[in-house]
Symmetry: C2
Subunit: 347 residues, 2 copies
Amino acid sequence: MPQNTSHNRRQLLASRPHGAPTTENFRLETTALPKASDGQLLLRTVYLSLDPYMRGRMSDAPSYSAPVELGEVMTGGAVSKVVESQHADFKPGDWVVASTGWQDYSAVDARNVQKLQGEALKHPSLGLGVLGMPGFTAFMGLLDIGQPKAGETVVVAAATGPVGSLVGQIAKIKGCKVIGIAGGPDKCRYAVEHFGFDRCLDHHNGLLAEQLKHACPDGIDVYFENVGGAVFDAVLPLLNTKARIPVCGLISRYNATSLPQGEDRLPLLAATLLRKRIRMQGFIISLDYAHRYSEFAQQMGEWFAADKIKFREDIVDGLENAPQAFIGLLEGKNFGKLVVRVGNDQD
Amino acid sequence: MPQNTSHNRRQLLASRPHGAPTTENFRLETTALPKASDGQLLLRTVYLSLDPYMRGRMSDAPSYSAPVELGEVMTGGAVSKVVESQHADFKPGDWVVASTGWQDYSAVDARNVQKLQGEALKHPSLGLGVLGMPGFTAFMGLLDIGQPKAGETVVVAAATGPVGSLVGQIAKIKGCKVIGIAGGPDKCRYAVEHFGFDRCLDHHNGLLAEQLKHACPDGIDVYFENVGGAVFDAVLPLLNTKARIPVCGLISRYNATSLPQGEDRLPLLAATLLRKRIRMQGFIISLDYAHRYSEFAQQMGEWFAADKIKFREDIVDGLENAPQAFIGLLEGKNFGKLVVRVGNDQD
């Protein structure tokens, strides 16, 4: 059953995953349409964003944000159209972005909703990608924490994803040498040819540490951390004195159920930070930088209008396919920003 | 043979330690007095500073600073008296501080020598402690990276050492709650009664993790890292969102020859930095903050003159005893800033 005007389909968290999520952890349910009360909007989801952080919300381990409760709608940002407005600032047909979850319809307070503006109106799904949260993450993490300087070497993984691809492009705008890491030769070629990375290394070929060393003869000044795991292991010995490591994600570990066995390298990391006088800093874009959104919107709008920013989307049709697409995201199967087209985007 | 006016005694690095240094790694040698050439000063060492970083200089592993070569004089900061001056700005009898090493006499370029000033002239050995490099380390690491705010909880180990004791006192001046960690009940009592820590926990009693949790009911906002090891392990789960971790030393690991076996907690540290949006940053005071020395000198001078800063020194007599004292420093045997009185401080 596709999206229709009489019912609301919702993807619920049916059970908590142990390790990698499976489709059994989700349940598609059909209910009545919600109603917008005073000050609220009834929204119809057009594009649903799928992002790695959602894996954390499926678990009840302590985190910066409360987990999704069992039987509740999966959380997530979406681009929607206003169906009905009980607020003077919005009218039916407006394109908006809000955290409305994995469902067809939602009734939300207008104050929690942003209208799409500028370039995003020409291509609404980008409000979930380079012109939205992932773009904001790349922009602030790289510029505010990473502080790249012309001539420095910047390394970022998931190089064709929405964050990694933008980190690379902004670093190029700033005059840096940019080395990407991605899974497979197609993605690597794309990162160089389409996004303008100087090089992109395939972490599937088992030679990452050696190839990264070769690709970074002057060491690494900024490592934008969004994956962790083997990529970080390859980066660690190459970090330069005074390197900066913004940490926005660790996708390689999100399905992990235990720590690796072997040497405890926590002291090695601490000693590296000390000896090389490195700054390593985690951030959550919505919590740390919400007050600086306008800086991002203005600069990214300018770059985008000047055709300095490329993007790639991986669009999956149908809310019913969201769980499988999300499972694939955690395995690196997407190629570009993963978006679910939940409903008609033409009317 | 004590210090005399006709010979120079020097402690050389005889061999590189594997693990903890022993007295065999040092060799005391007697040579002729060096001569000061044009622009130089002949200095007589009065107080030699012993500091944990010197352990790193004994090894030839890659570090931020070149190692001491075998057969060379051990490096180190010292407070000296000018014996002979070939530079207009200095005259015999002046008190100075310079990196002159473990020896009685040195001939050094005047531009690498600082005159003791202000409060330090009343108590010259403090130019190696609270009014010198350790004080500067505590001041900049805590204030610039740690950024403590009134009401926050600050934790620091080696609480009766020159860095830890000053971190605690500055944090108290800034209105923080300060929990110290030290080895043994005498040091812990002293940290509270003399330095004004709110509490000080004994890491010898095997209950540190539990006691620290109890002592920090609101979590930890700033952990000033100077020891690593079991203290960091106890701190890690208690760190608050947006905590700051300046890293100036990791003394507990300086004699380590391998990483601990077991779980690899590097990913745990990275995940903690991400989830709690923590900033962890290594620094080397002489390399990162030399340009801000005057800020420290002025503020510390004010606090010191107003009797807001307490200190404790652990003075060992005789250059011949420096190796054993240094070995004890790495084992936590000193109680206060460890200084070797190399020569007469009265004439």
